[in-house]
Amino acid sequence: MTVQDPGPARGMPPTRSALGWIVEGCTRAAEALMLAMMALITFEVVSRGFFAYSLLLVDEVAGYMLVAILFLGVTYSFRSGSLLRVDFFLHWLSPRSRHWLEGSYLLVAFAFLAIMDYATIRFVLSTFNRDIHAPTLLGTPLYLPQAVMPAGMTLLAVALLAAAIDSLRRAWAGPEEDTGPAPGGPGGHGGAV
């Protein structure tokens, strides 16, 4: 059985727009990090178990990798309809009402992201200005792994805004073929466990 890549959700801009290329690049980086994380932790377990040798950095680096996977991958997750939502109410609406509601929701999400983005930029700048390093063997300057947070949030905010404009434009344009809620609409259970 193979689970297909759902690709961009209905109503979303084409994947190969400038935004699409950036999202694709970030997703590939997240995939590489996922693989590197598996290799690093496995190496640590094997070297510790068989050679009594520990790298003493795996906990720290794996944590940074997780942050990067989240923020590099979340825009793809959103665009492919994998962010969880309860969508049965949306199915009762006419396509036009649904687009209005979707557009409004996307603007609410954008507003939340804008606040988050602002807060994380301030946080990273504060870490940078105070020259805070991790209290570990590596002594990583923390602004480096933290910088991916505002970068990923900015990308998601742009994607939300693009989707909101698209949805509101469709709502404004009037009746059209029923395409179902987008993104993360019916069958959008890719993020469920």
């Binding site: 059985m1 996922m34 932790i41 969880l84 309860v86 609410v108 507003a111 259970h189």
Partner: protein, 432 residues
Amino acid sequence: MDWIVEATVILALFIGLLLGGLWIPFAMGAAATLLLFVSDGWSGFNAYGLITWGSTNSFTLTAIPMFILMAEFLVQSGVGAQVYSGLGTAVRRLPGGLLQTNILGCALFAAISGSSVATAAAIGTVALPELKERDYDPKLSAGTLAAGGTLGILIPPSIAMILYGAFTDTSIAKLFMAGVIPGLVLTGLFVAYVGLRALLQPGLAPRQAPTRLPVWRTCAQLMPFLLLILVVLGGIYAGLVTPTEAGAVGSAMALAIALVWGRFGWQQFRMALRNSVRISAGLMFIVLAAYLFAYALENAGIASALTDWFVSLQLNRLEFILLMLAMYLVLGCLIDSIGMMVLTVPLLYPVLLEYGIDPIWFGVVLVVMIELGQITPPVGINLFVIQSIWTGRLSQVVRGTIPFWGIIIVFVGLLTLWPQLALYLPGQMSAH
């Protein structure tokens, strides 16, 4: 503002946005942001940066992408067919035939995957064409797969348990072990029900012609999976590896199994990685929003006020547990499994401690209630997973799961009467 008014407004807003169709993390984030603004003004957002970093930079939560990757390697390589075929031969004498293989296949796959969706999809895709060809009852076929799939989050490893452990600071290793016996008992109850139905109504499950596959071949088919289970769960139980490490080693082993025994090329490899990023990032974003939500509730004093209020009701332990179970039954009809967890755990956890309820036992009960939600319409995710891979109607899937719904309710009763079903193995770990 009085905390009751504040809590009511915020929860009403959150649930309204959630049921109205806003994505779960944005609904939580919007509610948290509004609550913080009402409580502290703009300065309330100062903590967002630190919470975002603190909640996501976590070695414990690294287990989530690792177990997702492990399941994806196995699902994409199509080795579910091998599990199904091996078990089909092993259990062919049981009444119910392939229906028993559905349940046991799901249980076995659950032990190498942390997800109900992955379990139902992996076994369902292989099983449904076989069941149709052999003229098995469609409702019962779909029911065994949808319900069997829910075992994915009870039998460890379990992504739901990792999330619960991270939210409540409960040992994930102990939670995993706490899921083993309940998972086996629930599997046994499902098997017993299917067997009984097949004996009473033989037309539901036609007898299979006995196949004469040698025992060694059946063992060879199942061996890689049993080895994977042994390494992952055995390693955690023996304290040799943490759950996160077990996830990484399990992923590496799953990759090897996929390469050797599956149909696993470059395309499947890329797809496994992409799906893992897609699912992990989506889940982690919900985790982040849940931490923001929990912080906002705590900051406004709602969580502690709610605890005091629950304590002032002076319910006895059983009454409180029944109240919670009733609440989860209702929530299961409205909200997706992970949404159910992230909404309730930050609020209920302090109350549980006040009532002296074991957090490990509660973690298992919560996961079982989530399982129930996964087969409860209209949002039960496993119903849609099975519906998406077969040719019948959704109503048939729903009707097929009703008996299993009843079995899970009975099972929650058993867990409440005998908490040791969940607590025995974690207790043995402490004793080491």
